[in-house]
Amino acid sequence: MAKLHIDPMTRIEGHLKIEVDVEGGKVVDAKSMGTLFRGFEIILKDRDPRDASQLTQRICGVCPTAHATASVRCLDNAFKIKPPTNGRIMRNLIYGADYLMSHILHFYHLVALDYVKGPDTAPFIPRYEGDYRLDPKTNKVVVDQYLQALDIRQKCHQMVAVFGGKAPIVYGMVAGGATEVPTFDKIVSFKWRLQEIRDFIDNTYLPTVYLVAGAYKDLFEVGVGCKNLISFGVFPLDDDEKTFLLKAGSYTQGKDMPLDQGQVKEYVKYSFYDDKTTGLHPSKGATKPDAHKKAGYSWVKAPRYRELPHEGGPLSRMWITNPVLSRHANKFLGVDAKKEIRFRDLGDKTFSILGRIVARAEECKLIADAMDKWILQLKPGAPSNVKVEVPKEGEGFGLTEAPRGALGHWISIKDHKIDNYQVVAATIWNASPRDDKGQLGPIEQALVGTPVKDIKNPFNVVRVVRSFDP
């Protein structure tokens, strides 16, 4: 048996270490280990609740708008306020633009180098050698797109800034709505940028994803995972925020179920936190680090839904929402272009490395197309926020979907200050260690069974991990 340590696990956000045992050419056991603790939840205590929407964005510089969204929804809930229509739409547009940035960045800059050989210069070397299957011409096309996508993702951030103020880290989302009053100029400036991005998604990103997938078809069978899926829902479509572009719900042990946030618990038996804090709902959650804990192997807690590991991210959202896919999907499957193909029509293939990558690209188009309609629903000059007063006491939660999975913030307020603030971040679901019952986290489960042809160049291991966009 060979033990592989992949540390650092690069091309992700944050610090992750992967440990796998390989026997007979396959992974037989896996551990996913978070290797950084900063203590945001501890730092948030006793601060002005409104500051949470700024401070929590700095949990993740790749998806700050996700934390901004969860946080302002959490504060809205605790303050018992609702943003006006303009505020809701502007939040969706800021967040949507960052989603497009994140998905494009993920495919081209975080995962593509596992399938495509970059130029023979740093930072593209050193690299794993062996399993690159594209012919030199196609390989070059994708490398050129890597560079083009750098510019496209930068332009996505210009879109974020139109209503968000700047990116990364936005100032335009606040409790009660958004800060800008939309003007005709701003709407136009957003819309023309979106045109260019949509063109790139439709005519470059999506076809390239299917092109690469075609060369690595066996990877539709690798990295299955726990097959329990969760989505908190994202992009509210009505002012009561009850319906979402990407729906809330779960797919648990083969059954579709409505979402019940009361069923979320965090376990810490194998995480570096005090055992007394295990099994708590986040509204009562606690963060007590214990760096010397013997059983601990990760700084990530193990959130479970209905006591089971659940995967979050585009695969989960697309499976739960089950929308119609792009014409590129028809072409890939060799199905008549006029026939509607929905995500679940892809079947079990979706539970795989490539299933996640295809889900992300298709979702990117779905969101970009929806944004093109939302931008015209803004009412120039109409208010975008409501007055905010911090209550003396209160409790609330805010749920959303980060590009990489289900994200929730929970707050309790005492004497106008934060008494407890708990964050269940998206990657915490996927990259979690074992829970108290010994159930492996979603990435750990997806790794078990993964074929490893060459232990010096364990392509499939890193491909599985990166397919989750941790």
Partner: protein, 312 residues
Amino acid sequence: MPISRRQFLKYCAGTGIAIGASGTLLPEIVEALEKAVAGNPPVAWIQGGGCTGCSVSLLNTVHPSIAEVLLKIISLKYHPTVMAASGEKAGDYLYDMAEKNKGKYFLAVEGTVVTGMDGKFCTPGKFKGKELTFIKLMVDMGTNAAAVLALGQCGAYGGIPAGKPNPTDSKGVMDFFKDHGIKTPVINIPGCPPHPDWIVGTIAHVLMFGVPELDSDGRPKLFYSTNVHDNCPYRSYYDANKFAKSFGDEGCRIELGCKGPESFADCWKRGWNKNVNWCIHNSLCFGCTQPGFPDKFSPLYTKIETAGREVA
């Protein structure tokens, strides 16, 4: 055509041809830079207690584009978010590079130096067969670097992780080097995150002319010497006592909690994201380039005491 240091400073400060209008560095600088750095000096970018936001901000550089930076200006030998390699292949490459280029490579540090619990809060990887703490990595890489760029609030001053009660004993690079007697020059590039022009512009200065002149907070004067409030386009509202009472109102943002009077940076003329927008136009300045952020400016959405000070 080579450009002089004087011209360069002028370009960066935007006093000559207005750099601020485009939110980019001028083509002249980029061209001179590409020529000056023939041989692409090695840069290693390491990450401690951070969020990757500084890296994402750097990716937003417009001119030079990030592709130009990576392929024509520097040789990025190590960057956890960008590099192809994983695991020991990546870690060993870093140590080999540092050995080969002793005293010649540049080190960029993103995130805090997490010093609590003997470094157990942050273990960035396995290098030459050993799992290291970020403390050890900083000592090894910092000691032999030509200069260190301490990026963002975190790298410069400790940032949010060092916010009260600083549960991980997080520190900025300068403080950490002082504790360990490391003499390598450090340039702070604060901001949460810093503007990409501040990062690329500082790198350009270092490569062409050496370490730029720094202020008492260790920041390059060419980007951080102007007061945001004194130069704010909304300043005339302030002088006319016209104050925004809620977001979206016309008027100076002081009453809403703007920290412009305490902040030094050139956002007011540079703008963000190719000058599409900037903080105060959108809402407020939170003082993210200043030592002490966020505690010094908390609560963020509350008027600061110094707001009424007389300014030149």
